[in-house]
Symmetry: none
Subunit: 129 residues, 4 copies
DNA sequence: GTGGTCTAGACCACA
DNA sequence: GTGGTCTAGACCACA
């Protein structure tokens, strides 16, 4: 598992771990049905408390991204479950961002322009910040 | 002041209050130079502790949105300070939303489409969710 | 009296007034023995509370810069009193600044250099900030 | 932590505490990455309220001098952040002192002389006042 | 254990 | 009246 945690960050470790797994699932490194490391082994690998890994797995399970089968382990949800959930949360976060921008006084035209320039910058491989 | 707080939410009350004031400033209800309710009166009106209101005011002050003058009161910052800060935070939140959507597997084209449909729905006065 | 007050500043009005009078005395506009406006007239001219002017005069009196003679008015202290006091407070503030700079990790050489460049910039009539 | 507070002073305790920590960071007693006492323990040691210590820590955090990590503790900022901030505030305070001295009637030459003699006295280990 | 939020309430300087 | 400081103490999430 290529996961790096920032132990000095203010975002809780368990949230960082959730986000990392989501990223791996979102970009296809972890595909539907793939198994994840056991709670203990991942905890050891990352040097964090097994409770923290447990918590992250449980959160992802509640979001329909993981499936934990007692005695067998944890897996990326079968079928389209994980992918659909991911896309759905992505869309919601995006819309929340648009809503915030509107409430901060940006016009719809400006918002679209920001999106376009941000995305085209991304395509060209430029770091944006 | 039309402010509603969710006392059961996990987001701190002081953050909710900041957000409410930002909304009022963003949509023009509160304009540059306008005075805000006193720490005590707003606390009483909202049924929260004066310290909490003061904390919110201080956060907004540090962001350049408010000015608090001992013995006088608190005011929306003069000049463009408030407006510029608001727009800047709006832009950053929007870009963070785009970034999240990308990491969740949405394509740039989909993202643009979501923006466009969300904004056009807004224009027509439809609630989106 | 060429005094401008910033009513929106966080520094108390009475302190601003003291500082203004000190400036006028320091640069020679107000000389030893000169009379100051009465408490009431200055208060009216500046649009502030007479108590505030009263307080400023009292503070300057305690510093040996003013002399108030009941029934006659207030004057810049006779003899060298005002000038000596001003220079003395100037020197102390300067030394406090040096002390702070040292405690913040600046070397004596750096401090001297900052002084020299700051003063030469002043001479050339350049605004420094 | 060798910190002494003046509970009778007019300068707020939280500001005194900030200044003390800044001094310790400025002179190298506290280095980049060093951990500070916990909010509670320092409060108890100094006989003040934990809220006051927290306030000081937050102020220093906003200045880029500290990092507070929930559940972990508070630390002097990594990298050059703390040092740069300290030096910058030191320079500004020094320049403000020079400005005040000028407005009090001291000439540039006198100001330079005061700096030189003050600093050379320091070098010889003489207390200046 | 750690920092963070919040309440209740006293007291201060300033206007 | 206004905002600012401080105390005392409860409760929370996180490690």
């Amino acid at each position: 598992m290529f996961i790096t945690l920032n132990y000095k960050s203010r975002t809780p470790i368990c949230d960082q771990l959730c986000e990392s797994i989501i990223q791996l699932a979102g970009c296809g490194v972890l595909a539907s049905g793939d198994s994840l490391p056991s709670v203990r082994s991942l905890a050891q690998e990352l040097g964090i408390n097994p409770n923290t890994v447990q918590k992250s797995y449980r959160i992802l399970e509640q979001q329909g991204i993981l499936e934990s089968i007692p005695g067998k382990g944890s897996f990326i949800a079968r079928g389209d479950g994980a992918r659909v959930t991911l896309r759905e949360t992505g869309r919601k976060t995006l819309e929340a961002g648009i809503e915030t921008a509107l409430s901060r006084g940006l016009s719809p035209e400006e918002i679209l322009q920001i999106c376009e320039s941000y995305l085209s910058n991304k395509k060209e491989g430029n770091a944006h910040d």
